[in-house]
Symmetry: C2
């Protein structure tokens, strides 16, 4: 090992090389090492990139590499300011992580030129971090999610340290603010460590950041209040070229102290020291730097270094403005590229600052989690399934039946600890309490009062922040593990922005050859709107389905199992899939059950199908098809069918149930789209279809688009009506009660509307009577659940 003075000199040179490369990526397409005078034709015609955060990111990267070299720790990096991609690319190239993924990016003069050219170029690297970049598990566009992702990556990985750079712009976001509290969940014994580094360079696009307006004591108070032990490393007074200041040494001192503290905490948590404080304050660093550090102080009177003007492309028009060109060349040459890359390749002393090949952050296998992923050991479903001697002859809640199976999935993964459940304080409320017999809610702190199922090594994360749940799970999945996210249906829209980004990550990752598939992100949406009659209108919102339908057709799946056994089958399927976002909507309340396990398997395999036992069309073209998707629509549709068979015996009714919503899409538009022959088998060729859907009808229309004669589908669903009332009243107000469905069927069935007027009127009268009664009694009439369809 070199003496420390040499080491820090090497690090400075390393940083100069990386900073130069970052700037070069933004500006140059040719003459990338300035071996000749800079001319306009050497510049990219469009300058796309963000310089401001780059020098700070490289400062941190170099500091972490020193830890890796000296202390042989395994460190993974999550970079919040993803627009600092040029810095990450520069470091990846210097440490040869790029070369490992793509030999064209070898650490040679040619590789350097290719790297510089490829950045922000059509068919090249995007301007922000993305799955194309080695070592990345976080789409670096939308800000706010890095820290929660880092916690998920560290969970259940005891040897892992996840360094997480949080930009001070990002620190203004809600999701980041909420994620600071995740330290009180992370388990120092069974899990790894998150080392947050708040990169405080003072500015966002056009203003000072909130952090920049805070004093050191406020910053310290804030993060201490969040349970951290903050350490401020202030480099903001140091000129980039100031040789004696040794900023790397200052940061190294902070990082060394942080690592020592981490080791101490782990030793206590993992040893026999029962007196160990269960939640010691983990270290975090606050790194003050000048934004765009290394730039000229100003150009033409516009201040640059240390201001928001350094955020993006700091010298804006060198292609056309000679002064700008001169300033740019001067700035670039200030890094002395000739001395850093004398023969087109970096000097040996620059490279001395790199980590050994097997410890590079850029090639950490966990950042390509699919390679670490192992299939879950899923229990066979039979013992968990409920007996359904005939359709409707059993009553159960779907999630309470799923619970014991999930509990055993948890138990079977006890040793590997590669399965987790995240939920915003809703596991019990969503009737999955059986899971808490198998594991605890994760919590490092002693509750001051009464508590149940809380423990330091639990594998259920319950925090009242959907953002935290989502970020944690993303980090967990992308590092090769498995998980489920049960949520109230209406509130999962809180993470619409996050899931948009995650779907983009999956899409791009699938296009990257070296990325291995990761486990699906599984949402279990329950406490669905139709049974939020007690919590009211704010809790009723099925729009997440619509959001997911905007994604690439091979990413999102939407399942609406109508009963308990079908939920078992679907969840079993979801936990086996990769590179997907599965949305499963299921009930938690006791409800009639339709399918034995084997019937459920067959039905789910097809995705949809005719329920002959509820139909009386004898396989001929029916007069009317009553179709349903969702647990509550299934009950109402079967009830409507039963009413019609009783009261309109000549009417040939077919009942179709849909589990996999995307079977409705044409097969040329969606991989799950059912072949035309199946579609005709289900829905006939001409019969009108009254389809009762769990969510907004528009979601079904969207799926059906492109099917011939989709106009014969009359879709009902949630039409944004609701309040606190009874379940049946909620159905009536949205026009999806069994009475409404039966009336529409009578109107739609060809040739029946004239004959059926009287019956339809009777149904309407009955519906209004029920409504009057329930306003008086406060409950649905008992007979309303007392129906026979057989």
């Amino acid at each position: 090992m070199p003496d420390t003075a040499t080491e820090f000199r090497q690090m400075r040179r390393y940083r100069a090389a990386a900073d130069y490369l970052a700037a070069a990526q933004i500006y140059l397409r040719d003459n990338v090492l300035l071996t000749e005078p800079l001319r306009p034709e050497h510049l990219k015609p469009r300058l796309l990139g963000h310089w401001g955060t780059c020098p700070g990111i490289t400062m941190i990267y170099a500091g972490l590499n020193r830890l890796i070299r000296q202390q042989h720790v395994s460190i993974m990096l999550v970079t919040g300011p993803g627009h600092g991609a040029p810095a990450i690319h520069a470091n990846l190239w210097l440490e040869e992580s790029h070369a490992e993924r793509d030999p064209v990016l070898a650490r040679t003069g040619g590789g350097l030129a290719e790297l510089v050219r490829r950045f922000s170029w059509p068919d090249g690297f995007p301007s922000h971090l993305s799955p194309e970049v080695p070592g990345v598990i976080h789409e670096g566009g939308e800000l706010g999610y890095a820290l929660a992702t880092a916690f998920g990556a560290a969970a259940d990985a005891p040897d892992r340290i996840v360094a997480c750079i949080v930009g001070d712009g990002e620190a203004e976001t809600g999701p980041t603010a909420a994620a600071w509290q995740l330290n009180s969940y992370a388990d120092p014994a069974t899990g790894g460590v998150v080392l947050p580094i708040l990169h405080l360079n003072g500015y966002k696009i056009a203003s000072p950041t909130r952090s920049a307006l805070m004093s050191d004591s406020e910053l310290t108070d804030l993060y201490r209040g969040y349970g951290w032990s903050p350490l401020i490393v202030d480099l903001s007074a140091i000129d980039y070229d100031e040789v004696d200041a040794e900023p790397d040494r200052l940061l190294a001192t902070g990082l060394d102290a942080a690592l020592a503290r981490i080791r101490e905490i782990q030793r206590r948590a993992r040893g026999a020291d029962d007196t160990a404080d269960a939640t010691p304050p983990w270290p975090m660093l606050i790194l003050r730097t000048r934004k765009g550090w290394g730039l000229p102080a100003s150009i033409d009177g516009t201040p640059l270094e240390g201001t928001f003007h350094a955020h993006q492309v700091p010298i804006s028009d060198p292609q056309h403005d000679q002064d700008d060109l001169t300033a740019l060349e001067q700035w670039l040459r200030s890094y002395r590229p000739d001395a850093l890359f004398p023969d087109g390749e970096p000097c040996a002393d620059v490279l001395a600052a790199c980590p050994p090949a097997d410890q590079r952050m850029g090639t950490d296998p966990a950042t390509n989690g699919g390679v670490l992923r192992r299939e879950l050991d899923l229990p066979e479903l039979t013992p968990y399934a409920i007996e359904v001697p005939e359709p409707g002859a059993a009553t159960a809640g779907a999630t309470p039946v799923l619970g014991p199976w999930l509990a055993d999935v948890m138990r079977r993964s006890n040793e590997r600890r590669d399965f987790c459940i995240v939920s915003p304080d809703e596991l019990e409320s969503n009737r999955l309490e059986a899971v808490l017999e198998a594991t605890d809610r994760l919590c490092q702190r002693q509750p001051p009062g009464y508590a149940e199922h809380l423990g330091p090594h639990g594998r259920v994360l319950e925090v009242l922040s959907e953002h935290n749940c989502q970020g944690w799970l993303q980090g967990y999945l992308l590092t090769g593990r498995h998980g489920v996210f049960p949520s109230y249906e209406a509130f999962v829209s809180i993470v619409d922005g996050m899931v948009n980004q995650y779907a983009k990550f999956l899409k791009m990752a699938a296009e990257v050859g070296w990325r291995a598939p990761v486990s699906a992100l599984n949402y279990l949406l329950t406490s669905e709107g139709w049974r939020q009659e007690h919590n009211g209108y704010s809790h009723q919102g099925p729009g997440f389905i619509n959001t997911m339908l905007t994604k690439k057709e091979w990413i999102s799946r939407i399942y609406l199992p109508p009963d308990a056994n079908s939920l078992l089958v679907i969840m079993d399927r979801c936990l086996r899939t990769t590179d997907k976002i599965n949305v499963v909507v299921a009930g938690k309340q006791p409800a009639p059950q339709w399918m034995s396990l084997s019937a459920a398997r067959e039905h789910c395999r097809a995705g949809a199908g005719v329920w002959n036992w509820a139909s009386n069309d004898d396989g001929d073209e029916p007069d009317i098809v009553l179709a349903c998707a969702g647990n509550i629509p299934t009950v109402e549709t079967l009830a409507a069918a039963s009413m019609l068979r009783r009261d309109a015996p000549g009417l040939r009714v077919r009942v179709v149930n849909i589990v996999d919503l995307l079977t409705l899409a044409p097969p040329d538009r969606h991989p799950h789209g059912a072949p035309s022959s199946d579609f005709v088998d289900w829905f006939g060729r001409r019969a009108p279809v009254v389809l009762d859907f769990h969510g907004y009808p528009s979601a079904v229309h969207e799926c059906l688009h492109g099917r011939p004669d989709s106009d014969r589908f009359h879709v009902r669903g949630y039409r944004e009506e609701g309040t606190t009332t009874t379940p049946y009243d909620l159905l009536i107000s949205n026009g999806v009660s069994r009475h409404d469905l039966a009336i529409e069927a009578l109107h739609r069935a060809p040739g029946w509307s004239s004959r059926a007027g009287e019956l339809a009127d009777r149904y309407a009268t009955e519906r209004e009577r029920i409504r009057r009664d329930l306003r008086r009694t406060g409950v649905d009439p008992p007979e309303i659940t007392d129906w026979t369809w057989a």
Copy 2:
């Protein structure tokens, strides 16, 4: 004024009355004052409500009422834990706010019985706070948004104090965490005050809250770090019946101190004291209580008071379980309803704790902001419009043209200060910098370094948190003011959850007779995906349109002005509307301009229309309709039309542009739906329509649903493809370049596909050549913007 001992005794009696009423609402339908022994038939058949937070809410309510009575301050209340509705109802009834809105809820025995019956009952009050409840400006279902809403309500209202109860469950959410920092924006001179009261009762549904796991010093550090001066009022050791403990006095001491501090800060900020610290730490209270305070400690071995078991309906089955019934009666009688309501009406000493009628929180006009709302003084558009001598003969960016008009809207509202702009650090980036000539970015703190357009009295809120922007604006609008929210299009989905709730608020508010209309919430979505070719895939996402399409048809409007003058017309319209959520999508980059101001007025009035100058069908049924919605699609569509007219002269092409997306919907389904006659005038009767849409094609299909022959519409749009590349490459990858549109038109036009094969091939070849070239040069070929359609 009574002596203090009497006063606090009265407050205790007041709280007992309110707590009793809250419990009664959850349980009783009859015998509401227990004038006879409690029997099962007195109970509601379904018990729906949340008790746990109620006693604490009433504690706070009573404490605030004391401030109002004694110090004659005007206080508005925003209640985060909206599931504590029974407590709010009880207080509203006692102070006769309920009676003012609805005489049936008079402060009489009959009114009391009605209140109790109406809660959580079909057609009655929802179980959560909602617009039906007087004094409410915050949908109390989804947690996290109370604090930002409170800040918006206080902004520009110097005499207002907005007390905000933040539940400790809610305090775990990201949006709440981010909202604490809003204190550094709120202006003590021109604005009011937010007084947050963190209600720390220790538990959410099933676990301790994060706050409950924190020590007093951590809590103090945290909120001090956020710039507050926190004061802990700890009542958690006090038994509900402990006469000497005087919890009201403890809270009063805290509230008095807070108010004194508020007054001191305001005096300094509003006086001539130039040395005043610009951002003194505002006070906040942390109130520790026992959850469900007043309940029995346990029942049947299950702990109740002070645990999560008190969260919802604490004694669960009194209808069927005799022990539960006995326990319930015992508990209810512990409040001594006979002594509180001796003749069915509250005693005088109970009522002594109420505020005077004109200062009740429940009837503060600001909580029904529509009554305070005044029309904006909007400048006539002409001076701001740009000259467009003929279509395409001018070039401009749309938002840069809008900027000066918005700046003058700002100037004209200088005195009233009832217009604000909120934006996540994007005003300049979205090219609305002209606004900053009229006002500053709001900021109370001295930036440590260089800054521009930052000032303590600014009326632009820029904070890198869409959640904060949205909450602030909601609070501002609901208290009777106006505003605009410019945002990057892709990132507005961050607030999907919030806008879902806000749309619900508007829907319910419109059904409440006494609520006056409030100004529309106006989103200006720019930096749209098609011009995020430089920021890449993460910045491309038009899904907010899909989210808004799920709302009630009279709430959401979606406008896609194709150029600058039409943007002026549309924004002018939006700022005049009420009870709406307007989504306006517009470009910021220089682009060809199509319409003079008068043409834009006419086009926007119709919502859509044929552009004859770009068509060659001479008013006959065309061979093909090229339709477009959105600024970039308009350019491409016109280019495609121009190419076809040049290269396929016999082809009759009609160009239709759509500004108001919802004109596409059938008029029986949507109030903006164009009459069939207009629809036929635009799109003909038979011609295929190739429609290039700004967003996901599904949004257009959803609008068209129900139009006859909607199958002839072939919609293209964003298909979730993108990266960092050139603008034209981004279009090509989504199949919406002018070449793609022209090719599809040739394929679709009846009788043309055989003749047109060669031409289509030529276009395809040209497109591929362009793609190859741009991969080499990094820019779109210059000729690509050099086209003539005339």
